[in-house]
Symmetry: C2
Subunit: 170 residues, 2 copies
DNA sequence: CCCAAACAGGACCGATTCAGTCCTCTATTT
DNA sequence: AAATAGAGGACTGAATCGGTCCTGTTTGGG
Protein backbone atom coordinates (compact mmCIF):
# COMPACT_ATOMS: atom_id res chain seq x y z
CA UNK A 1 0.00 0.00 0.00
CA UNK A 2 0.90 3.67 0.23
CA UNK A 3 0.03 3.59 -3.46
CA UNK A 4 -0.36 6.20 -6.07
CA UNK A 5 -3.53 5.88 -8.14
CA UNK A 6 -3.63 3.73 -11.25
CA UNK A 7 -4.23 6.81 -13.37
CA UNK A 8 -1.08 8.40 -12.01
CA UNK A 9 0.85 5.22 -12.68
CA UNK A 10 -0.39 5.13 -16.26
CA UNK A 11 0.49 8.80 -16.57
CA UNK A 12 4.09 8.08 -15.66
CA UNK A 13 4.23 5.26 -18.17
CA UNK A 14 2.86 7.51 -20.91
CA UNK A 15 5.10 10.42 -20.05
CA UNK A 16 8.10 8.13 -19.92
CA UNK A 17 7.26 6.76 -23.32
CA UNK A 18 7.08 10.29 -24.67
CA UNK A 19 10.40 11.05 -22.99
CA UNK A 20 12.06 8.03 -24.58
CA UNK A 21 10.83 8.97 -28.06
CA UNK A 22 11.45 12.65 -27.71
CA UNK A 23 13.00 13.74 -31.00
CA UNK A 24 12.43 16.65 -33.32
CA UNK A 25 9.41 17.68 -31.27
CA UNK A 26 7.15 15.20 -33.00
CA UNK A 27 3.62 14.89 -31.72
CA UNK A 28 1.83 11.69 -30.86
CA UNK A 29 -1.92 11.16 -30.94
CA UNK A 30 -3.98 9.56 -28.22
CA UNK A 31 -4.73 6.68 -30.53
CA UNK A 32 -1.07 5.95 -31.18
CA UNK A 33 -0.17 6.15 -27.51
CA UNK A 34 -3.02 3.84 -26.59
CA UNK A 35 -1.96 1.33 -29.21
CA UNK A 36 1.66 1.29 -28.17
CA UNK A 37 1.16 1.18 -24.40
CA UNK A 38 -1.85 -1.11 -24.28
CA UNK A 39 -3.84 1.34 -22.18
CA UNK A 40 -7.43 1.90 -23.32
CA UNK A 41 -7.86 4.91 -25.55
CA UNK A 42 -10.41 6.89 -23.48
CA UNK A 43 -8.20 6.53 -20.45
CA UNK A 44 -5.14 7.71 -22.32
CA UNK A 45 -7.12 10.74 -23.46
CA UNK A 46 -8.21 11.61 -19.96
CA UNK A 47 -4.70 11.35 -18.58
CA UNK A 48 -3.10 13.47 -21.29
CA UNK A 49 -5.72 16.14 -20.81
CA UNK A 50 -4.69 16.37 -17.18
CA UNK A 51 -1.02 16.51 -18.10
CA UNK A 52 -1.71 19.22 -20.67
CA UNK A 53 -3.63 21.35 -18.19
CA UNK A 54 -0.65 21.20 -15.87
CA UNK A 55 1.79 22.16 -18.57
CA UNK A 56 3.64 18.88 -18.59
CA UNK A 57 2.74 18.06 -22.17
CA UNK A 58 2.12 20.39 -25.04
CA UNK A 59 -1.04 19.78 -27.04
CA UNK A 60 -2.25 20.76 -30.44
CA UNK A 61 -5.76 20.21 -31.77
CA UNK A 62 -6.99 19.46 -35.19
CA UNK A 63 -5.59 17.37 -37.98
CA UNK A 64 -1.91 16.60 -37.52
CA UNK A 65 -2.35 17.45 -33.83
CA UNK A 66 -1.33 15.45 -30.78
CA UNK A 67 0.82 15.64 -27.71
CA UNK A 68 4.47 16.04 -26.98
CA UNK A 69 6.52 16.71 -23.88
CA UNK A 70 6.61 20.40 -22.99
CA UNK A 71 10.06 20.26 -21.42
CA UNK A 72 13.20 18.20 -21.62
CA UNK A 73 12.79 14.76 -20.01
CA UNK A 74 15.53 15.46 -17.48
CA UNK A 75 13.65 18.54 -16.31
CA UNK A 76 10.38 16.77 -15.57
CA UNK A 77 10.28 15.15 -12.14
CA UNK A 78 8.05 12.17 -11.52
CA UNK A 79 6.48 14.17 -8.71
CA UNK A 80 5.05 16.60 -11.25
CA UNK A 81 3.27 13.81 -13.09
CA UNK A 82 1.75 12.44 -9.92
CA UNK A 83 0.67 15.86 -8.73
CA UNK A 84 -0.99 16.58 -12.06
CA UNK A 85 -3.27 13.58 -11.57
CA UNK A 86 -3.72 13.46 -7.81
CA UNK A 87 -2.96 16.91 -6.49
CA UNK A 88 -0.30 17.73 -3.93
CA UNK A 89 1.63 14.84 -2.48
CA UNK A 90 0.51 14.30 1.10
CA UNK A 91 1.29 11.10 2.94
CA UNK A 92 -1.35 12.00 5.51
CA UNK A 93 -4.11 14.57 5.53
CA UNK A 94 -2.21 16.76 7.96
CA UNK A 95 1.16 16.31 6.30
CA UNK A 96 0.77 18.75 3.47
CA UNK A 97 1.00 22.45 4.05
CA UNK A 98 -1.76 22.95 1.52
CA UNK A 99 -4.21 20.79 3.43
CA UNK A 100 -3.06 21.67 6.92
CA UNK A 101 -5.50 23.24 9.30
CA UNK A 102 -8.35 20.98 8.32
CA UNK A 103 -7.72 18.33 10.95
CA UNK A 104 -9.89 17.98 14.00
CA UNK A 105 -7.05 16.61 16.10
CA UNK A 106 -4.68 19.37 15.18
CA UNK A 107 -3.04 20.85 18.21
CA UNK A 108 -3.38 17.98 20.63
CA UNK A 109 -1.92 15.32 18.36
CA UNK A 110 1.83 15.61 18.53
CA UNK A 111 2.72 13.91 15.29
CA UNK A 112 1.77 16.52 12.72
CA UNK A 113 5.21 18.05 12.50
CA UNK A 114 6.80 14.63 12.15
CA UNK A 115 4.47 13.74 9.31
CA UNK A 116 5.33 16.96 7.57
CA UNK A 117 8.99 16.05 7.71
CA UNK A 118 8.35 12.55 6.43
CA UNK A 119 6.20 13.99 3.70
CA UNK A 120 9.00 16.32 2.68
CA UNK A 121 11.40 13.41 2.40
CA UNK A 122 9.03 11.38 0.26
CA UNK A 123 8.17 14.38 -1.86
CA UNK A 124 11.77 15.27 -2.50
CA UNK A 125 12.59 11.68 -3.38
CA UNK A 126 9.95 11.89 -6.08
CA UNK A 127 11.23 15.29 -7.15
CA UNK A 128 14.72 13.95 -7.62
CA UNK A 129 13.74 11.36 -10.22
CA UNK A 130 13.13 12.67 -13.72
CA UNK A 131 11.43 11.16 -16.72
CA UNK A 132 14.85 10.71 -18.23
CA UNK A 133 15.75 8.55 -15.24
CA UNK A 134 12.59 6.52 -15.61
CA UNK A 135 13.34 5.91 -19.24
CA UNK A 136 16.83 4.62 -18.54
CA UNK A 137 16.74 2.09 -15.74
CA UNK A 138 20.04 1.52 -14.01
CA UNK A 139 21.06 5.13 -14.09
CA UNK A 140 20.99 7.51 -11.17
CA UNK A 141 18.69 10.54 -11.02
CA UNK A 142 21.62 12.90 -10.74
CA UNK A 143 25.25 12.12 -11.16
CA UNK A 144 27.50 12.32 -8.20
CA UNK A 145 30.22 14.91 -8.54
CA UNK A 146 33.72 14.40 -7.21
CA UNK A 147 34.74 17.21 -4.88
CA UNK A 148 37.85 16.29 -2.98
CA UNK A 149 40.29 13.57 -2.16
CA UNK A 150 40.79 12.57 1.43
CA UNK A 151 43.39 9.98 2.26
CA UNK A 152 43.78 8.94 -1.33
CA UNK A 153 40.15 7.98 -1.60
CA UNK A 154 37.78 9.89 -3.70
CA UNK A 155 34.99 11.51 -1.75
CA UNK A 156 31.70 12.44 -3.17
CA UNK A 157 29.31 15.25 -2.47
CA UNK A 158 25.87 15.91 -3.72
CA UNK A 159 24.31 19.04 -5.05
CA UNK A 160 22.12 20.95 -2.65
CA UNK A 161 18.66 19.53 -2.46
CA UNK A 162 19.66 16.20 -3.91
CA UNK A 163 17.93 13.59 -1.89
CA UNK A 164 18.28 9.93 -1.25
CA UNK A 165 20.75 9.53 -4.05
CA UNK A 166 22.55 6.86 -2.07
CA UNK A 167 19.53 4.66 -2.16
CA UNK A 168 18.88 5.24 -5.74
CA UNK A 169 22.34 3.97 -6.47
CA UNK A 170 21.78 0.99 -4.23
CA UNK B 1 -2.48 12.11 -2.42
CA UNK B 2 -0.07 9.23 -2.20
CA UNK B 3 -1.75 8.75 1.15
CA UNK B 4 -1.60 6.10 3.77
CA UNK B 5 -5.00 4.94 5.01
CA UNK B 6 -6.73 6.68 7.89
CA UNK B 7 -6.45 3.54 9.97
CA UNK B 8 -2.69 3.51 9.47
CA UNK B 9 -2.52 7.17 10.39
CA UNK B 10 -4.47 6.54 13.59
CA UNK B 11 -2.21 3.58 14.28
CA UNK B 12 0.85 5.79 14.19
CA UNK B 13 -0.81 8.28 16.52
CA UNK B 14 -1.71 5.53 18.97
CA UNK B 15 1.68 3.89 18.83
CA UNK B 16 3.38 7.24 19.26
CA UNK B 17 1.26 7.94 22.29
CA UNK B 18 2.28 4.60 23.76
CA UNK B 19 5.89 5.41 22.96
CA UNK B 20 5.70 8.75 24.72
CA UNK B 21 4.19 7.22 27.86
CA UNK B 22 6.37 4.16 27.87
CA UNK B 23 7.41 3.68 31.49
CA UNK B 24 7.58 0.70 33.81
CA UNK B 25 5.88 -1.45 31.17
CA UNK B 26 2.45 -0.24 32.14
CA UNK B 27 -0.46 -1.40 30.04
CA UNK B 28 -3.17 0.79 28.62
CA UNK B 29 -6.70 -0.32 27.79
CA UNK B 30 -8.55 0.40 24.59
CA UNK B 31 -10.98 2.55 26.51
CA UNK B 32 -8.23 4.73 27.94
CA UNK B 33 -6.49 5.11 24.61
CA UNK B 34 -9.75 6.06 22.93
CA UNK B 35 -10.50 8.62 25.60
CA UNK B 36 -7.10 10.24 25.43
CA UNK B 37 -6.70 10.32 21.66
CA UNK B 38 -10.26 11.13 20.71
CA UNK B 39 -10.48 8.20 18.31
CA UNK B 40 -13.66 6.12 18.62
CA UNK B 41 -13.28 3.10 20.83
CA UNK B 42 -14.17 0.34 18.34
CA UNK B 43 -11.70 1.76 15.88
CA UNK B 44 -8.95 1.89 18.47
CA UNK B 45 -9.67 -1.75 19.29
CA UNK B 46 -9.46 -2.82 15.69
CA UNK B 47 -6.18 -1.03 15.15
CA UNK B 48 -4.51 -2.40 18.26
CA UNK B 49 -5.56 -5.91 17.33
CA UNK B 50 -3.71 -5.48 14.06
CA UNK B 51 -0.65 -4.10 15.80
CA UNK B 52 -0.70 -6.98 18.27
CA UNK B 53 -0.90 -9.57 15.53
CA UNK B 54 2.20 -8.07 13.98
CA UNK B 55 4.10 -8.05 17.23
CA UNK B 56 4.32 -4.30 17.52
CA UNK B 57 2.35 -4.13 20.72
CA UNK B 58 2.11 -6.67 23.49
CA UNK B 59 -1.37 -7.55 24.66
CA UNK B 60 -2.85 -9.14 27.73
CA UNK B 61 -6.46 -10.18 28.16
CA UNK B 62 -8.68 -10.18 31.16
CA UNK B 63 -8.92 -7.89 34.11
CA UNK B 64 -5.94 -5.55 34.45
CA UNK B 65 -5.09 -6.36 30.85
CA UNK B 66 -4.33 -3.96 28.03
CA UNK B 67 -1.65 -3.05 25.54
CA UNK B 68 1.90 -1.82 25.70
CA UNK B 69 4.69 -1.40 23.21
CA UNK B 70 6.54 -4.65 22.55
CA UNK B 71 9.87 -2.97 21.84
CA UNK B 72 11.69 0.22 22.66
CA UNK B 73 10.27 3.24 20.82
CA UNK B 74 13.56 3.89 19.04
CA UNK B 75 13.49 0.36 17.63
CA UNK B 76 10.05 0.62 16.04
CA UNK B 77 10.08 2.23 12.61
CA UNK B 78 7.01 4.00 11.32
CA UNK B 79 7.15 1.68 8.35
CA UNK B 80 6.33 -1.27 10.60
CA UNK B 81 3.15 0.41 11.82
CA UNK B 82 1.99 1.18 8.31
CA UNK B 83 2.77 -2.31 7.08
CA UNK B 84 0.83 -3.84 9.95
CA UNK B 85 -2.31 -2.07 8.78
CA UNK B 86 -1.87 -1.96 5.03
CA UNK B 87 0.57 -4.68 4.10
CA UNK B 88 3.87 -4.15 2.30
CA UNK B 89 4.68 -0.65 1.18
CA UNK B 90 4.34 -0.44 -2.59
CA UNK B 91 4.09 2.87 -4.37
CA UNK B 92 2.77 1.08 -7.43
CA UNK B 93 1.47 -2.41 -7.96
CA UNK B 94 4.63 -3.44 -9.77
CA UNK B 95 6.99 -1.70 -7.37
CA UNK B 96 7.00 -4.24 -4.61
CA UNK B 97 8.90 -7.48 -4.91
CA UNK B 98 6.09 -9.23 -3.09
CA UNK B 99 3.49 -8.20 -5.62
CA UNK B 100 5.71 -8.32 -8.68
CA UNK B 101 4.81 -10.64 -11.50
CA UNK B 102 1.13 -9.86 -11.32
CA UNK B 103 1.17 -7.07 -13.86
CA UNK B 104 -0.20 -7.49 -17.35
CA UNK B 105 2.19 -4.95 -18.80
CA UNK B 106 5.24 -6.49 -17.19
CA UNK B 107 7.99 -6.94 -19.71
CA UNK B 108 7.06 -4.37 -22.28
CA UNK B 109 6.67 -1.48 -19.85
CA UNK B 110 10.12 -0.14 -19.12
CA UNK B 111 9.43 1.61 -15.85
CA UNK B 112 9.14 -1.30 -13.46
CA UNK B 113 12.74 -1.22 -12.35
CA UNK B 114 12.58 2.53 -11.83
CA UNK B 115 9.50 2.18 -9.66
CA UNK B 116 11.22 -0.45 -7.58
CA UNK B 117 14.06 1.95 -6.92
CA UNK B 118 11.70 4.75 -6.02
CA UNK B 119 9.80 2.39 -3.78
CA UNK B 120 12.99 1.42 -2.01
CA UNK B 121 13.78 5.06 -1.33
CA UNK B 122 10.33 5.77 0.08
CA UNK B 123 10.37 2.58 2.10
CA UNK B 124 13.74 3.29 3.62
CA UNK B 125 12.70 6.83 4.47
CA UNK B 126 9.84 5.37 6.47
CA UNK B 127 12.16 2.77 8.00
CA UNK B 128 14.53 5.45 9.20
CA UNK B 129 11.95 7.22 11.34
CA UNK B 130 11.16 5.59 14.66
CA UNK B 131 8.32 6.09 17.11
CA UNK B 132 10.78 7.88 19.35
CA UNK B 133 11.35 10.35 16.52
CA UNK B 134 7.64 10.83 16.03
CA UNK B 135 7.18 11.52 19.71
CA UNK B 136 9.87 14.20 19.77
CA UNK B 137 9.36 16.60 16.89
CA UNK B 138 12.38 18.64 15.96
CA UNK B 139 14.82 15.82 16.40
CA UNK B 140 16.45 13.85 13.64
CA UNK B 141 15.87 10.15 13.03
CA UNK B 142 19.56 9.39 13.41
CA UNK B 143 22.24 11.72 14.55
CA UNK B 144 24.89 12.81 12.14
CA UNK B 145 28.39 11.82 13.12
CA UNK B 146 31.39 14.02 12.44
CA UNK B 147 34.07 12.16 10.49
CA UNK B 148 36.65 14.59 9.21
CA UNK B 149 37.61 18.17 8.75
CA UNK B 150 38.34 19.48 5.29
CA UNK B 151 39.53 23.04 4.87
CA UNK B 152 38.66 23.92 8.42
CA UNK B 153 35.02 23.07 7.92
CA UNK B 154 33.38 20.15 9.61
CA UNK B 155 32.16 17.52 7.21
CA UNK B 156 29.49 15.04 8.00
CA UNK B 157 28.90 11.48 6.99
CA UNK B 158 25.98 9.24 7.53
CA UNK B 159 25.80 5.67 8.68
CA UNK B 160 25.35 3.08 5.97
CA UNK B 161 21.76 2.68 4.97
CA UNK B 162 20.73 5.97 6.46
CA UNK B 163 18.47 7.64 4.01
CA UNK B 164 17.36 11.12 3.29
CA UNK B 165 18.70 12.35 6.56
CA UNK B 166 19.52 15.68 4.95
CA UNK B 167 15.91 16.32 4.29
CA UNK B 168 14.82 15.28 7.67
CA UNK B 169 17.12 17.90 9.10
CA UNK B 170 15.76 20.48 6.72
C1' DC C 1 -15.38 26.70 -47.68
C1' DC C 2 -16.36 22.60 -45.64
C1' DC C 3 -15.09 18.30 -43.70
C1' DA C 4 -12.34 15.31 -41.02
C1' DA C 5 -9.02 14.87 -37.40
C1' DA C 6 -7.88 15.57 -32.89
C1' DC C 7 -8.02 17.66 -28.33
C1' DA C 8 -10.94 20.22 -24.24
C1' DG C 9 -13.94 19.80 -20.67
C1' DG C 10 -16.91 17.73 -17.90
C1' DA C 11 -20.81 14.57 -16.70
C1' DC C 12 -21.75 10.13 -15.47
C1' DC C 13 -21.95 5.39 -13.49
C1' DG C 14 -20.41 0.84 -11.97
C1' DA C 15 -16.97 -1.29 -9.20
C1' DT C 16 -14.00 -1.35 -5.62
C1' DT C 17 -12.17 -0.10 -1.46
C1' DC C 18 -12.36 1.65 3.02
C1' DA C 19 -13.90 3.16 7.57
C1' DG C 20 -16.35 2.04 11.17
C1' DT C 21 -19.43 -0.96 14.00
C1' DC C 22 -20.93 -5.12 16.11
C1' DC C 23 -21.15 -9.82 17.79
C1' DT C 24 -19.34 -13.90 19.78
C1' DC C 25 -15.56 -16.28 21.96
C1' DT C 26 -11.53 -16.77 24.95
C1' DA C 27 -8.38 -15.53 28.59
C1' DT C 28 -7.27 -13.45 33.11
C1' DT C 29 -7.89 -11.53 37.53
C1' DT C 30 -10.33 -11.09 41.85
C1' DA D 1 -18.18 -17.38 39.56
C1' DA D 2 -18.19 -12.83 37.89
C1' DA D 3 -16.30 -9.00 35.81
C1' DT D 4 -12.87 -7.27 32.71
C1' DA D 5 -10.51 -6.94 28.57
C1' DG D 6 -8.70 -8.59 24.20
C1' DA D 7 -9.20 -11.98 19.69
C1' DG D 8 -11.21 -12.66 15.56
C1' DG D 9 -14.02 -11.91 12.06
C1' DA D 10 -18.50 -10.59 9.72
C1' DC D 11 -20.95 -6.96 8.05
C1' DT D 12 -22.55 -2.44 5.98
C1' DG D 13 -22.86 2.32 4.45
C1' DA D 14 -19.98 5.69 2.49
C1' DA D 15 -16.58 7.45 -0.21
C1' DT D 16 -13.43 7.11 -3.74
C1' DC D 17 -11.77 5.73 -8.10
C1' DG D 18 -11.41 3.89 -12.74
C1' DG D 19 -13.25 4.07 -16.86
C1' DT D 20 -16.50 5.63 -20.52
C1' DC D 21 -19.06 8.83 -23.17
C1' DC D 22 -20.93 13.08 -24.98
C1' DT D 23 -20.66 17.71 -26.67
C1' DG D 24 -17.95 21.52 -28.10
C1' DT D 25 -13.75 23.74 -30.17
C1' DT D 26 -9.65 24.11 -32.83
C1' DT D 27 -6.78 23.06 -36.81
C1' DG D 28 -5.28 21.44 -41.24
C1' DG D 29 -6.36 19.71 -45.81
C1' DG D 30 -9.08 19.00 -49.94
S1 LIG E 1 -3.91 13.85 13.05
FE1 LIG E 1 -4.22 15.85 12.12
S2 LIG E 1 -2.75 17.08 13.08
FE2 LIG E 1 -2.32 15.05 13.86
S1 LIG F 1 3.08 -1.27 -15.31
FE1 LIG F 1 3.42 -3.28 -14.36
S2 LIG F 1 5.46 -3.71 -14.89
FE2 LIG F 1 5.19 -1.66 -15.61
Amino acid sequence: MLRISKLADYAVVLATWLAAREQRGERHTVRDLAAVTGIHQPTVGKILKHLARHGIVDSQRGARGGYRLAARPEDVPVAAIIEALEGPIAVTECASEETAGACEYEGRCGVQESWQRINAVVGRALESVSLADMAKPGLSPRELVPVARVGGERRMARAAGDVAADDWHG
